[in-house]
Amino acid sequence: MTSEMIPVEKFAAQARSWLAEHMPPADPTAGHFFFSDVSAQTDEHGLARIQRCRELQRLLFDGGFAGICVPPEYGGQGLTAAHQFVFNRELRGYDYPLEIQASTFIPCMALLLEFGSEEQKLRHIPAMLRGEEVWAQFLSEPDGGSDAAAAATTAVRDGDRWVLNGSKIWTTGAWYSDWAMCLARTNWDVEKHRGLTIFTVPVRAPGIEIRRIEMSNGAREFCQEFLTDVVVEDRDRLGEVDGGWTIMGRWLHHERTISGGSPYVTSAGGRGDDAAGSIMRLVQLAREQGNLSDPRTLELIGEARALSLVGDALVRSVTGKMRSGALPHHAASMLRLFGGLATARRATIGFELAGAAAAVWPAERKPDDAPPRDSSPVDEGTGVASGAQFAAGYLVRQAACIGGGTTEMARNVIAERLLGMPREARADDGPFRDVRRSPPA
């Protein structure tokens, strides 16, 4: 089989011509989706974009470029990570289903591949690759913070079904998703890691109520879910009963690889909200302000660019070392830490460069009296270099160091797992029922 595999560069050439013929170009006027100033972005816009992502995913599937590393029996191409990486390289400049890469493909599809039953794989993975199933992660809980193993959402067995009760939070896009991977407690009488089980749950199952969370900048991307007597079939359980923590290790690993290096992610490096794009917006801002020859301005732009280039080098180097075994997979926490801090710093640089324009700005213009469009591809018609954008980015700056596992947790992993330093003392090693938890709010 291996001898018949298409060579990477030949695959890249095929991808190049296929993309040119079939894939639409990236829309430079599209704003960024997550953490954006969504005052101008309605739910209809959001849903239309997700629908577009499903269509683009279907396009990739029909072209033979979906699930490049996924075995053919589950609808994939059965190739290697190297094939996915060159495809991502060729994808630059095209529109692609960016917004459904996380959580659908990592961690959910990756976990199904590793832990799913044959039936589960056949049922879900081809549907994911065709854009028919968009997934979410029912992981964090309102009382849990960073302590994922302290999940208190409870699943009680009832014959060949389970009944789930509890609440999940910080779920990206639950309101438009089809399925979710859900961590639940199945045993309160053992140590906390030993009483967890993972289920796949239809998001629109009876008993699941979804509430949108409004972020400090107005974005309403995250959700909280309330689960009341939600019935889940036992065949929708992933892995062993009470064996959920084994899967969680991989879950968190796959989640961390969103910074780069996952063989399951189709990505041209983001669209409007990627590092290079954010630096071009800084250049545009400086040009609008007439500061493009000011040394201090150039220094800040250079610092932002340096952080993105160093981050890029770090991702490539660390993923290479993890693949060769030179570093353990815990090293991915360095990418999370660096990425979070660098993103936060870039937000601060934008805020600093914008100056007073990021504090007070003209009231929003209606679309029909918008100023004439600049011909620059950086900001075409979107006013992305406006002070309001940088203010919005600055307001939710710390989200970059919180979402997807806090930077503090990343530091713990680096210190304890990568450097072998002593683990933190535990106050939760008895039966979970007896562990002290946050008082009810």
């Binding site: 250079g302 340096a306 890029d312 080098a313 770090l314 830490l337 713990n412």
Partner: protein, 383 residues
């Protein structure tokens, strides 16, 4: 640290063992008072290990271990950084690169051959005391007459100039506007004087150069007339990669020392590295060490293979490492407590090396500005 192929790993082992024998990190203290830290016999041995040929094309007598000689030399530079080792590594390689690329047949046959064999060393008079990243105007002027050229002016901060046989000096002509030209100046040329400088690095010696009617044959010119600015920019990229290598080696060593210290030092009945505050700082340091190594390797790959984004990688590396590396070692000192600020401890030797490397050929602020200007130019070209 930067070795990829088995050949490079062997090259790295030989380099490490040579430096461990002759320049363990503590040697810096012994050399602090010495007028010269150059040992000609050792340098000839070092040249036999391949330290002088890597930036020189094969047809000019050079050669690489692995195709990209700059990536090979990065291995040596990082080992120098680990030990804050002395030796005319940077200057000699800059001169060899210049002569290998742009030198005349005579220059290749004579001076370059001596540099490659370790029989002579070189110094690149690029930086200037207190000067900006890019020299503007002529600090050295050239007056041509009857097949000769006379150089006058000042150039400076040339590392190891007193021990070098050849200096690379850029000079501009007063008349016309042809831009500066590089000249290969023998160290013992009449009219050339050196002034010893003091500085942070205990093992490297720096000199200002004064030239008073230093008369050379026209053939002392290196490359086409007027090419020095362009060539300096290229040499600066090569040097930037090597500086990043030194910095990466130095911070990795400082970090390893601090890891061992934090594991073995007990306070209040616990090892230091059991405190979460210490653990978190070590995690930050570990990440910065990895990031500096990663960007150094990327810069070596881009510059060494002549890619157009080479200068961006060097600027990004020097802007990031220039800020992070000295702070990183300062934090290692803090984590050591009192012992960390003593002359006896090795950490200040590494801090000195990194501080010099992140200042002399451009400050982090200047590299960031250059990168910002490159971004502005890219955006301008795109619109």
């Amino acid at each position: 640290m930067f070795a990829q192929s088995p050949d490079q790993q062997l090259f790295e082992q030989v380099t490490e063992s040579f430096l461990d024998t002759h320049y363990p990190v503590g040697r810096g203290r012994e050399l602090a008072a010495a007028e010269s830290t150059f040992e000609p016999g050792l340098w000839r041995k070092a040249a036999a290990l391949g330290w002088t040929t890597l930036l020189v094309p094969e047809e000019a007598g050079g050669g690489s271990v692995n195709g990209n000689g700059l990536a090979d030399l990065l291995i040596v530079a990082s080992q120098f950084g680990r030990r804050a080792a002395p030796g005319p590594l940077l200057g000699t390689n800059m001169l060899a690169a210049a002569l290998g690329q742009w030198g005349s047949t005579d220059q290749r046959g004579g001076p370059l051959a001596e540099l490659l064999a370790g029989e002579a060393t070189g110094a690149w008079a690029y930086a200037t005391t207190g000067g900006p990243l890019r020299t503007t105007g002529h600090r050295v002027t050239a007056i041509r007459s009857a097949g000769e050229v006379a150089l006058s002016g000042a150039a400076g901060c040339a590392e190891g100039a007193a021990d070098a046989k050849y200096l690379l000096v850029a000079a501009g002509e007063l008349e016309g506007n042809s831009g500066r030209t590089h000249y290969l100046v023998p160290r013992d040329a009449p009219g050339l004087e050196l002034t010893t400088l003091d500085g942070l690095d205990l093992t490297r010696r720096f000199y200002d150069i004064t030239l008073r009617d230093v008369t050379l044959p026209e053939a002392a010119c290196v490359g086409e007339p007027g090419s020095a600015d362009q060539h300096d920019a290229y040499l600066l990229d090569l040097l930037g990669v090597l500086l990043l290598g030194e910095i990466a080696g130095a911070v990795a060593h400082a970090f390893e020392m601090t890891c061992a210290w934090a594991a073995n030092r007990y306070s209040f009945g616990r090892p230091l590295n059991s405190y979460q505050e210490i653990k978190h700082r070590m995690a930050d340091l570990r990440t910065a060490v990895e990031a500096i190594e990663a960007v150094a390797a990327r810069a070596a790959s881009a510059v060494g293979t002549g890619r157009p984004d080479g200068p961006s990688w060097v600027c990004a590396g020097m802007a990031y490492a220039g800020r992070q590396a000295p702070e990183l070692i300062q934090d290692c000192i803090q984590l050591h407590g009192g012992i960390g600020v003593t002359f006896e401890h090795d950490l200040h030797l590494l801090l000195r090396r990194v501080a010099v490397d992140t200042r002399l050929f451009g400050t982090p602020s200047e590299y960031a500005q250059r990168l910002g200007a490159l971004m502005a130019a890219t955006a301008g070209a795109a619109s």
